[in-house]
Subunit: 397 residues, 2 copies
């Protein structure tokens, strides 16, 4: 452990440093109840070793019920780095990533995965820092018929798995507009539908608002063979009402594909740009608690460097690297517990068996829906959205 | 460290177990940037030692600005156990607590505190588990003229501090109705106003809904001499939209006075009642991040035992103890960082100097307000509040 860039994970550090009851108590307070590790089959482990990625599994149980059988679903979160340098031809870059992902999906499927999701815009480097159009916009593709959807549809049908695919979408049927979209492919290989990013950042190197606009699709939920799922893309994680609307539409699992980098911690550069890593363990887990559902935040890993230098609007000198994506995918449960995270630095597959019955069990127990007073907030948020809203402020008379 | 009931805190365990760069990196990822410790004056330390409570301080800084001077405010969170057994006369129980609090406020004031807040219903044991009326409802008092408000008003005026006082309120002017209220007393000793609990639990021993109803006062914010503050009482912590409305009304600091117990972890009792401890570090901090404000969750400590046994509706046998309140008060900052928490078991005063300029600085940087799409949520939450709302669910065609 020499720098923030190669520190593996908080979880690994705690497990190494703390022993016995101290570890158990820290784990309980930090992470809630312990979840047993899932046995990963030997052939999946072999693929992981051969292709240099981690694979880990956990099991999140629910209480047995009399009238409902357990609804066990295995969710797989897949995080990885790009393969080729960003100046390689677009088609080659994408193909190399497809090849890498194929191995990781194979390992997930061998581990029993039913629903698989990769990080945000998994088909391409996160090039929006450049504010350049070509060649980056060439990575955009049709959600319904693009090469990545075709590639995943074949896999989904072959293995009978649902795949959530976050891509840069070009809406060919509507004026060629670009979107940050998530495509949901069913276990028969068909596109069930798509969701789009509702909230778009304007921070540092994340010049995404230059490329696409906020979704006009609202908060769609997809009723798949393995449960009702939704996709809250990246920065939408910071908005509790975004999670809430997906859950109010019935989502039992909300995926959160992301692209998040470690803060600029270089001693040569005095600007400490506040970014998201200390928030990573907080927000998606808070959403799982507040909404009685599972959440699955997934972040890419690795460093990405671009041919031409760019500036960030944060006082740093011009640079070609967006920074290091910090991985750390995990699954948060409605009861406040969570799994350990994947590595901050290494490609990985996290397979978690969840019992969807836990959503309703927690709902009945903690009662946040029953006590949410939605009518109060419908009125107060409507009032607050009015540009002439007068905040309710009291002063000493 | 032998049982979950006497484990001091995650923070203390980490500091003991991890050294050097590993500690720093775990700290950064778990807690955000480090906050320097505040020097606690000798006379405050002496009061703390003499009266057997902890006192700790931290400083949360903001960047210097050209047009605004720093707006430094010292916030004090005070957590403690009740003093007398719950079968002592009501008046004596309350007086003993007043005496204890007086020492703790003295130490906070000597440490420079400007705004002070105790845990939920600090004047009494948390007797709602009993579902008995007398003598517990005798602890209820007028928010404007009750003995605890008078007691604190004198202190507030004497020291020039703002005090937030969470009490069981009897609204003598409105049919003697009981409320779970928070009174805001200004630095001149006058009552600025009151807030009431918006969301009320129905879990295990927390039979509070038997005693009082949800607030009809909305989300008032109090513009004090030291900043705009609001109070989100206890279980309201689980509702992100509750925090949001306080912040949309302008709150820079949201206090969260609580009464939360450790899960029932006794090996003799197989029922593991899911409660809030693993959520404690998540929710208030998530709210500080999402709303660009400071949050201050404060929980009581100690065990409370009642004269007559009661049941919880969770399968446990009848019992007289509500369990152990786990303290752990902390301050969360809008930039995702937080202070270490107070002890889980011991009375304590946490004094944190914050610079309110950090709220707007983080707002301008992370832009969650700018990107919140309040008009979208006004419409979608209004729609979802309709009993005939049809969730937006998509299926394979």
């Amino acid at each position: 452990m020499s720098s923030p860039f190669d520190f593996d994970s908080v979880d690994a550090a705690l497990k190494e440093a703390l022993k016995g009851p101290a570890y158990e108590e820290v784990h309980r307070i930090l992470y809630g109840r312990s979840h047993p590790e899932l046995q990963i089959p030997k052939d999946a482990l072999e693929i992981a070793t051969k292709n240099n990625f981690d694979i880990r599994g956990y099991e999140i149980t629910a209480e047995p019920e009399q009238l409902r059988a357990p609804r066990k679903v295995k969710v797989a979160a897949i995080q990885f780095s790009i393969v080729l340098p960003t100046n390689a031809p677009v088609e080659e870059q994408r193909k190399a990533i497809h090849q890498k992902v194929a191995h990781m999906i194979d390992a997930a499927v061998l581990s029993g995965a039913n629903i698989i999701c990769m990080h945000e815009l998994w088909t391409m480097p996160f090039a929006f820092c450049t504010r350049e159009r070509l060649p980056w916009t060439e990575f955009a593709e049709s959600a319904e018929h693009g090469p990545s959807t075709k590639f995943l549809s074949q896999i989904a049908a072959k293995y009978g798995v649902v795949i959530v695919s976050s891509i840069l979408e070009r809406d060919e049927s509507k004026d060629d507009v670009l979107w940050n979209a998530a495509v949901v492919i069913s276990n028969s290989g068909k596109v069930i539908g798509k969701s789009r990013k509702n909230h778009i950042p304007r921070i540092g190197d994340f010049s995404e608002s230059t490329y696409y606009m906020e979704s006009t699709l609202g908060h769609p939920v997809f009723d798949t063979a393995f449960g009702k799922i939704a996709i809250n893309v990246c920065y939408g994680r910071h908005h509790p009402q975004n999670w809430m609307m997906y859950a109010l539409n019935g989502a039992e699992i909300i995926f959160n594909p992301c692209a998040e980098v470690v803060e600029n911690l270089s001693p040569e550069d005095p600007t400490k740009l506040l970014l998201s890593e200390p928030m990573w363990a907080i927000e998606a887990r808070s959403a799982a608690i507040a909404n009685h559902c599972f959440t699955v935040p997934i972040n890419r890993v690795g460093r990405e460097s671009f041919p031409n230098e760019f500036t960030s609007g944060d006082g740093r000198t011009a640079h070609k690297e967006i920074g290091q994506f910090y991985g750390s995918a995990y699954v948060a449960a409605p009861d406040g517990s969570r799994t350990p995270g994947l590595s901050r630095t290494k490609d990985g597959v996290l397979v978690v068996e969840i019992d969807l019955n836990l959503c309703r069990q927690t709902k009945d127990h903690l009662c946040f829906r029953m006590t949410q007073r939605l009518d109060l907030y419908a009125k107060s948020i409507t009032a607050a959205a009015d540009p002439n809203y007068k905040p309710d402020i009291h002063r000493e008379k």
